[in-house]
Symmetry: C2
């Protein structure tokens, strides 16, 4: 390891997103990103395995927060444990992060390979949530149903949180979407 650069990871990440957005993801190299913040390519690779990891590097933490949320949820019906775990999104996506997340999503949306990577990651999170529910004693198919429904609620809510003009927190949006799901699947809601 070379010398430590204070805040290097965050500076590289911000510079990368700006370059991906303006110059294009494919056209931007690790050296470009490092140069933009006065660091060397070698420093870039001390912080990120490759230029894709700049976009997806936070997802292990995101997944762990959801899984920990299931482990820590009070004993309750499976969907209530999932709702409790979804609260982690509020910690991970505070409102001050919204501009950063919007820029990141713009880059992903412009690049099919990145969209696929994001989709695969969300699927992996759903599988980890289902495993966490089984550890809490939830049988199948309920564990997978609840985990995948939870990720459906998160995915729809996250998109809405990024929408132009949206002011609500991700937590408020998620609570509303979860209620919509309950209403949609409630037998009394049949017409």
């Amino acid at each position: 390891m070379g010398r430590w650069e204070p805040g290097a990871r965050e500076r590289l990440m911000e510079a990368a997103l700006q370059l991906y957005a303006t110059r294009g993801y494919e056209a931007t190299t690790a050296a470009d990103i490092a140069q933009a913040v006065g660091l060397t390519e070698r420093t870039f690779f001390r912080h990120f395995a490759d230029k894709r990891e700049v976009i997806f590097g936070g997802q292990e933490l995101f997944e762990q927060l959801f899984v920990d949320g299931i482990a820590a949820a009070p004993d309750a019906a499976p969907m209530d444990m999932v709702a409790s775990a979804l609260g982690a999104a509020e910690e991970f996506f505070p409102d001050e992060r919204r501009p950063h997340s919007r820029l990141r999503q713009t880059i992903i949306d412009a690049h099919p390979g990145l969209q696929e990577r994001e989709l695969l990651k969300l699927t992996a999170v759903a599988a980890s949530l289902a495993e966490a529910l089984r550890r809490r004693g939830v049988p199948e198919p309920q564990a997978t149903l609840a985990a995948e429904s939870g990720m459906t609620v998160f995915g729809i809510s996250f998109r809405q949180w990024l929408a132009d003009g949206e002011q609500r927190s991700i937590g408020d949006i998620q609570r509303g979407v979860l209620e919509e799901l309950r209403a949609l699947t409630h037998p009394a809601g049949r017409s």
Copy 2:
């Protein structure tokens, strides 16, 4: 186009699955598949764009059946329209197709690239279902919630249909899983 080979497509497909299962997907070439049923590589490429399409070539029809199911569903609550569309799975996966589908899934499960392809395809089907629901007047987020919940039900049911010793039809399994989803998200089910 060269001369027409009766049943060539089906023979190529069966030979391909057998070779993918025994020799491995990566190690099998289009020429191997064609040779196994006494046809030329050129004939293979008249029927399939590449060796991956042998596995996924039926999915356009599968997607169209679901979308047509939404268009043809009686006016009802969104999840009931989705339940009606899921009936297409019974047409696409009759019980006599179960051994073929099991072999196909074994090959996909052994190969991450094919798993990704399948996942992306199911996501595309969910997006098409949501679009079909919007055409029926279902607003957002209900359309996407109902479509993705429907694909969750299908995915869990399809896996169960393939399980060793499973005797029920995919339709019977889907109806059971859909009831589990309704129970799981029903407020009265909270404990």
